[in-house]
């Protein structure tokens, strides 16, 4: 029995043993959030003293890029740092933060510009940021896509939260449609969705978290690496799919994978808080595990994973726990009645290929 997700619960569910911690010298990972929040070092230390006893870990961040704000720490910033350092344990961790930005700057764009100016960067970056695709200009999204390509060719892995509004909903006069989110819909990043335990108070198999963002881009066409997987889904569930007018079957489909996103414990402003949920929790959890795999690869003289998707999709879900139960939110109307897409065997637009079974994923990505 447990009363919410903690590092020990995550490490048990995803088969991380006490030996699964970082040790390579040139490995590092980073979190970036753009909420004008900051994390508090004392919160991280307290979190690790409360929840980090069962595994070797670091209790402080190696580097903060940007200026930390004052006053209260932010819940999301605390969550990001505490959980990437719980699965990516004992690995050098950076925090990109920006409360000190100029009033006329765009925090996310600032982070992108920074990546183009720093030759020494962590291999894995988890980012909790997203905007509705339809609120952004095509020129902006296309250019940011190129920035993601620049990061991928350098061997960086960019993981974006898939969002917490399920398929989303756009009310266009008479007709509604689902509402994809960017950068989650970019073909050049790895997007992470969310799951829940089937029994919220036990370490059981996982079902979808109904908030898990997912769907099909209206801007980017489906990349070659996922055509087979997505068409497989569309054929498998053809009879129960939402009306085709709600989504673009030729668009980049996301998320690519998932992890638990429900009912986390977080320490912020020295107070342990339960019930924190969102894909901004599942994303650092997956990021930390990719960092562990990078660690093992670097120790063997192999390059970092870099842009993961082409390789992830070739695994066809074998080293992940497939999530086949549950759906996520959609439009509240008589046609879809609040439901978006539903999980199915193999890839699906709620949890992607599923959640990481660490030893199997390590074996598959260490080849």
């Amino acid at each position: 029995l447990h009363l919410g997700v903690t590092p020990a619960i995550l490490r048990a569910r995803y088969n991380l043993t006490a030996a699964d911690v970082g040790s390579a010298q040139n490995n590092s990972q980073a979190v970036a959030q753009f909420l004008e929040q900051y994390y508090h070092p004392a919160d991280l230390a307290e979190f690790m003293s409360m929840f980090g006893r069962s595994f070797q870990h670091l209790s402080q961040v190696d580097r903060v890029v940007g200026t930390q704000g004052e006053g209260k720490a932010g819940l999301e910033a605390s969550l990001d740092v505490e959980y990437i350092m719980s699965t990516g344990a004992n690995i050098s961790t950076w925090v990109f933060t920006n409360p000190g930005r100029h009033e006329s700057q765009e925090p996310f764009l600032q982070w992108m510009v920074l990546l183009s100016n720093m030759s020494d960067l962590p291999w894995v970056h988890t980012i909790s940021y997203g905007d509705d695709e339809d609120s952004l200009s095509t020129a902006y999204m296309m250019r940011i896509n190129t920035e993601f390509m620049k990061a991928g060719v350098r061997g960086l892995s960019l993981l974006f939260a898939s969002g917490d509004s399920g398929a989303g909903c756009r009310h266009l006069g008479k007709e509604n449609s689902f509402r994809p989110s960017f950068p989650a819909s970019s073909p050049y990043v790895t997007t992470v969705g969310g799951t829940s335990f089937k029994n919220p108070f036990k370490v059981t198999y996982e079902v979808t978290d109904y908030i898990s963002g997912g769907g099909f881009s209206n801007v980017f066409k489906m990349p070659g690496y996922q055509v087979g997987a997505v068409n497989g889904y569309l054929n498998t569930v053809a009879a129960t799919l939402p009306p085709q007018s709600y989504f673009n079957t030729s668009g980049r489909a996301y998320p690519d994978m998932a992890a638990l996103s429900d009912n986390y414990w977080v320490v912020t402003n020295r107070v342990p808080l339960p019930w924190v949920s969102g894909t901004s929790a599942s994303t650092p959890v997956v990021g930390g595990m990719l960092s562990l795999i990078n660690d093992q690869r670097l120790l063997k003289g192999l390059p970092a994973l870099g842009f993961l998707n082409p390789r992830l999709y070739k695994l066809k879900g074998q080293p992940l726990f497939d999530v086949t139960e549950g759906c996520h939110l959609g439009c509240l109307d008589e046609k879809v009645q609040g439901k978006g897409f539903c999980a199915a065997p193999a890839w699906d637009p709620v949890t992607g290929w599923g959640t990481p079974n660490y030893p199997a994923l390590l074996a598959a990505l260490l080849k």
């Binding site: 959030q33 753009f34 909420l35 004008e36 929040q37 932010g74 819940l75 999301e76 969550l79 100029h102 009033e103 006329s104 700057q105 765009e106 996310f108 764009l109 600032q110 510009v113 183009s116 100016n117 030759s119 909790s128 997203g130 905007d131 339809d134 609120s135 200009s137 095509t138 020129a139 902006y140 296309m142 250019r143 190129t146 390509m149 620049k150 991928g152 060719v153 350098r154 061997g155 917490d164 050049y188 109904y210 908030i211 429900d262 009912n263 019930w275 924190v276 949920s277 969102g278 901004s280 192999l302 390059p303 970092a304 870099g306 842009f307 993961l308 998707n309 082409p310 390789r311 070739k314």
Partner: protein
């Protein structure tokens, strides 16, 4: 023509309070995304270094090599810098890849440089922000050398509803 981001939403979402127009002499910092070269080659390179079945798998590039690949052309850099300097804008920072310029200028200069823009201050949860309430355009000569100008429209995300979202949905 001239509108680089004709399809960008410029409305301020709920929750932001309009404080008023920015003083013309107030300093702003805007980001100019210059057109890059070899984007298709970059995309092909990414495909090769990310495909486990490719001989190039894992052969990642350094920042310097990426810069050599995508650096804007001489013409683009010259046209953009001349356009900025002709408006008296000389305080700019570039990056390693030279495909971004971050420039400081007054609101008055910015509104002349980017016809149509109108800078206002907004407030949300103690956070102050300057954005344009109307779409901007650029001179025709520059249009083909820029992808977009950052700092006029997009807003920081709102994340505080992490816990509220769940509790709300739990109660519902």
């Amino acid at each position: 023509s001239g509108y680089l981001e004709y399809d960008q939403d410029v409305l301020m979402p709920q929750g932001w309070t309009h404080v008023g127009r920015v003083d013309p002499a107030e300093e702003l910092e805007l980001t100019f995304a210059l057109k890059q070269q070899n984007v298709h080659l970059l995309e092909e390179t990414l495909r090769l270094v990310s495909d486990p079945d490719s001989a190039q798998y894992g052969k990642h590039l350094s920042l310097e090599e990426v810069a050599s690949l995508v650096r804007p052309s001489e013409l683009t850099q010259k046209v953009v810098r001349h356009w900025l300097q002709s408006h008296g804008i000389t305080s700019c920072l570039t990056v390693h890849t030279q495909d971004f310029l971050q420039c400081a200028m007054t609101a008055d200069v910015a509104e002349r440089l980017l016809p149509g823009s109108r800078f206002n201050r907004y407030l949300r949860d103690g956070l102050s922000l300057v954005r344009s309430s109307a779409p901007y355009s650029v001179h025709d000569d520059v249009h083909q050398h820029l992808d977009f100008v950052g700092g006029l429209h997009r807003l920081p995300p709102k994340g505080q509803d992490l816990i509220q979202k769940k509790q709300h949905s739990k109660t519902s």
